[in-house]
Structures are given as structure tokens and as C-alpha cells.
Symmetry: C2
Subunit: 171 residues, 2 copies
């Protein structure tokens, strides 16, 4: 299927909300604690006690969220042992978890622009290899940078599902 040549205009209301990739991702990590845990693990806060302390989250909530994120496959447990202590577990991003970083950066960029206050951004993300500041950009395959307020259309993809009761729907 050629995504650029739609058979008909996309009308979001005709399509099943739950078949959307945004909805499916939010179903798994669409809450504040999940995303803050992922942020902390990405930033090197990886041990249970440190996460509980840094996030100020109840230990039972943290435990449940970490178990869910582990089962979902975005974090994994890795054993470590401090000298003189028993073996413990810390949490790391998996490859799939690492691919969530653009989501976190998009939240960060928006917050930096709109919520940072007069003192300025709390942190700068930089490219680990060259040290240059990093940004999220929306680009198209024709080479355009769509800027901070991108103008998009959606085209129905092969996995779209038209809602049974939708006005104008085929089903």
C-alpha cells in the first residue's frame, strides 16, 4: 500500500480509537509513574531504593509499576552486588525501552518551552558522542523540517479498523 495516495480522506471519527498506536502505547505506559520511572532508569537512577526515594512514590506502587514495565519488555532486571552485601537487582532499559527516549524528550522539550519559568530549563540533553544539544524534530521523507507545530494529515494504514457504528463507516 502506498501511504501517500489515500483511497479516501482520513476521518479519525470513523476509525476505532483502540486500534491506534498511540492508544496501544498509552495502554501500557500512559501514566505519570510509568513515564517518570522510565525517565529515571534512562538517567541512571536504577535501584529500587533510589527510585522510591527520588520519585517519592509508595514502594508498593513502584513495585507494581516496575513489574508491569518489566513484563511489557521495556525494562529488565540486572543483578549487582555491593561489596559486603547480598546480590540485588537493578533496572535497565531494554532496546525497546531505549526507543521510548524520543517520547521522554518530546515531553521535556515541551515542558522546557512552556513550564520552565524564568530561571530556564532544569537540564539540557546533549548528544553523548559529540556533546551538542539535542532536539526532537519532525521531518518528512521529502526532507522538510515541519517545525514545532507540524501540520500533518493521517492516511489510513493496513492495520486501521473502521468502527461498526461510525457515520460514513464501511462496516
Amino acid at each position: 500500500m502506498d501511504p501517500v495516495t489515500p483511497k479516501r480522506p482520513y476521518d479519525a471519527y470513523e476509525y476505532e480509537s483502540s486500534a491506534c498506536s498511540i492508544a496501544r502505547t498509552l495502554e501500557q505506559i500512559g501514566d505519570r509513574w510509568a513515564l517518570l520511572i522510565l525517565r529515571d532508569v534512562a538517567n541512571g537512577v536504577r535501584r529500587f531504593d533510589q527510585l522510591a526515594d527520588h520519585l517519592g512514590v509508595a514502594r508498593n506502587v513502584l513495585s507494581r509499576r516496575l513489574a508491569a514495565l518489566t513484563e511489557f519488555g521495556v525494562v529488565t532486571r540486572v543483578a549487582y552486588r555491593d561489596e559486603g552485601s547480598r546480590e540485588r537487582q537493578e533496572y535497565r532499559l531494554t532496546d525497546a525501552g531505549h526507543e521510548l527516549i524520543p517520547i521522554l524528550l518530546a515531553f521535556m522539550g515541551w515542558g522546557d518551552r512552556h513550564l520552565a519559568g524564568p530561571e530556564g530549563p532544569p537540564a539540557y540533553p546533549v548528544h553523548a558522542r559529540c556533546g551538542a544539544p539535542v532536539r526532537v524534530s519532525i521531518t518528512c521523507e521529502a526532507g522538510h523540517d515541519l517545525g514545532d507545530r507540524p501540520h500533518l494529515h493521517l492516511e489510513p494504514g493496513p492495520g486501521s479498523r473502521v468502527r461498526a457504528g461510525a457515520p460514513g463507516g464501511r462496516a
Copy 2:
């Protein structure tokens, strides 16, 4: 302040979790309904009844979430009148709301890669002007594309706050 030349290495555990731009943004829109409402409004599902129907959300929940998003300044009410009906309100993204689209696209891209299933993505975002497929990319000011699993460091920004009780913290 030069963000590229840190005074000291960034240790996320030393910094206040709540002073982070990710945390501040999640505080306002970090739940599944808020982000799904923003998705729908961005995609042209703008009327209360359509939103309630499309999202399958309870009307009192939708009403509270729309009021919060309006107060937060990312959606705004616009009057419309269907022929023969009284004036009603629909919801549109504000400029600040429009700048949330990269967050939604980042969720969409991740879901397309990891949760779409064998049938493929449910929808393709394309550039409204040229029709070419769109993607979220992480780039640095030195011109590098950091790919799907970007390697980043954080540098403390002017708005960072060291935690009072942090090990190694200055306060």
C-alpha cells in the same frame, strides 16, 4: 551558561524529580485520557458528543478532562452552530496544544514499531503540504541524527534544583 561544558557530571539522583520538564508536563497531561483527547482533537474529532462516543469515556470524566486541558491552555472552545440547532462549542488545539503533536507522534512511532501486529500500522502521518511520510527524529546541533535509540547525556540547566538530602548534593 554553556550547556555543552558542564561544571560537573549530571547525576539525576541528585536533582529534584519535580523540577524536571518531563515531570511538570506529565503533571498536566500525563494520563491516558488527556493524551487521547488531545489526539482526537488534533485529528478533527472536536465535538463533545463525538469525543465521548469515539473515546468510549464517561461524559463526566470527559467534561473534567476538557475543562482541565482548557484551563491549562492547550485546548480552547470555539462556538459553532449546525443549521436549525442552538450554538454549541467545539474544541481546538491552541498554539501550545499544537506543539504537543511531537509527543503524540513519538507515542505513535513507538506503537507502530512495537505494537502494530502483523497487519501493520493503523495510520500513517504525512506532511500536510507535500504528502510525504513523517517521522520523529532526534538530532543534535552538530547535525547528527541520533537514530531510534539515542545516546544522550544530561547537563544541569539554570533551572535545576539539587535535592537537599541527596548524596553528593551541594545543598
